[in-house]
Amino acid sequence: MQSALHIDEKDNLVTCLREIKKGETINIEGKDYTANADIPVFHKMAIADIKKGENCMKYGQIIGTATVDIHTGDYVHVHNCESTRGRGDRK
């Protein structure tokens, strides 16, 4: 079983299919990536640098915006990626 799933070529995120430990290097489509943090199973890792305000991509689609600069190998979740939809708090 592969370690992570890269669903679409446009995706800058992969879904980890098992728990990945900080410092662990995994191979995705022939390229090595080293995790910068522990990443739980089925959570996401960045496989490209994503600047603050840029789109986070999965399924070839936008799933949110980076709230800080995200680096290759970073764990990506609610601490650094946010939804842009239904945000009445931003009125």
Partner: protein
């Protein structure tokens, strides 16, 4: 190597077309077919709910649907409650209906009964204030319901075509495996049913936010497609107009713990339940699916599972498939609910609640097409009478969607 859901979907063929499949069920007076033969006790309002429950307790096989609605509701909420209660009575899985009213509530028992009667099935109503209190109402209700139970027990199953089936599609307690394995499996099964002339309902408007641009082009009728986009916008605007951050409720804490970060990510996984069939049209919450124009529909329901399933069953769905990542036990009072998970750990953790493990796609490399077939076979068995786990454990959760206040 693990093959992505997307790649496997591309392998799907149209080989299911022209297959005729027969099921066994109960023919109703209006020509529809039920896969169960329930006796339903409907409270017209919250005020008659306990009395309805007490009647159901005394009659074998009777099911009551207690709720918190039916009085001092206005506008959309009044219409939604009435449509839901009437829709449950009209659902072909119901053989006979007793409506129990208090007497002074906004939605009158007689009005509900009259609308259900248009199906031709046996329907009666009683009113607590007219009978003279709880004891007399329960006594008379048991007399009526007992007779109905004996009558519907005489009905035999007959053969009918699978194209008569309306399948409700639901997901709840999602995690990232839902979008990778269980929802795509549901999509395969739904496409099979639709290719055989049956119908499916995609629901949960909140969980379309962020994926609407992918579903919109699949509407055959442009006006229906526009209506679909308006439904999604309406939900998003409700949150924005109230000054709320949708993130307070969506994704849920469990979704996030499982690895879903945003509503967009959740929606992009949810939409796989609709497979690849074209959309025939949109339905308001609990609106009856037109049986003269079968196929895939979208119904405007909330992301909350119970309210959503209730809306689809009121719209005529006889059976529900429900994918879950975190695991959930819920069912429906009158329609069997089949559970499928994409997470093998969840399957093993909640094995008494979950019927099918689509996690095998991820952990064992089982092909999506094969898992879709396994689910489809389970749907057929359940339509023919097999109890899925939620039904066997007596899960009968019921909830009516509301958007306004109680006045």
């Amino acid at each position: 190597m693990f093959i992505t859901a997307k790649a496997q979907e591309a392998e799907a063929t149209e080989s299911e077309e022209n297959i005729i499949m027969k099921l066994m069920g109960y023919k109703r007076e209006n020509g529809r077919y039920g896969i169960r033969n329930h006796l339903l006790i409907i409270p017209a309002s919250v005020c008659s709910s306990e009395t309805a429950v007490n009647i159901a307790k005394l009659v074998d096989g009777a099911i009551a649907i207690p709720h918190q609605h039916g009085c001092c509701e206005i506008g959309d909420d009044f219409d939604t409650t009435k449509r839901t209660l009437v829709g449950f009575g009209k659902n072909p899985n119901v053989g006979a209906v007793l409506v129990v009213g208090l007497g002074c509530e906004g939605i009158q028992a007689k009005d509900i009964a009259d609308e259900i009667k248009t199906t031709g099935k046996p329907v009666e109503y009683i009113v607590i204030q007219e009978e003279g209190g709880t004891a007399k109402t329960v006594s008379k209700g048991v007399e009526i319901a007992g007779k109905m139970a004996r009558e519907i027990s005489k009905q035999n199953k007959v053969e009918f075509d699978i194209s008569e089936i309306i399948l409700g599609l639901e997901c709840g307690g999602s995690d990232p495996t839902s979008g990778l394995a269980s929802n795509p499996s549901i999509g395969v099964a739904s496409d099979m049913l639709v290719s055989m002339g049956g119908s499916s309902i995609l629901s949960e408007t909140t969980e379309v936010i962020g994926a609407e641009h992918l579903l919109y082009p699949r509407f055959e009728d442009e006006n229906e497609g526009k209506k679909f986009l308006e439904m999604v916008k309406r939900v998003e605007n409700r949150s924005i107009a109230a000054g709320h951050d949708l993130r307070e409720g969506q994704p849920t804490p469990g979704n996030k713990a499982g690895g879903l970060t945003t509503i967009e990510e959740k929606s992009l996984g949810c939409m796989h339940k609709a497979g690849h069939s074209p959309f025939k049209g949109t339905l308001e919450y609990a609106e009856e699916l037109p049986t003269n124009k079968k196929g895939l529909y979208f119904m405007d329901t909330p992301g909350q599972d119970i309210d959503s399933i209730t809306g689809m069953v009121a719209g005529g769905a006889q059976v529900i498939v429900f994918s879950t990542g975190r695991g959930t036990p819920t069912g429906s009072p009158i329609a069997p609910v089949i559970k499928i998970t994409g997470n093998s750990s969840t399957y093993n953790n909640m094995i008494d609640n979950i019927d099918i493990n689509a996690g095998k796609i991820i952990t064992e490399g089982v092909k999506l097409q094969d898992l879709g077939q396994e689910l489809f076979d389970k749907i057929v068995d359940v339509c023919n009478g097999e109890m899925p786990k939620a039904e066997a454990l007596g899960h009968r959760e019921f909830g009516i969607f509301r958007t306004g206040f109680t006045y």
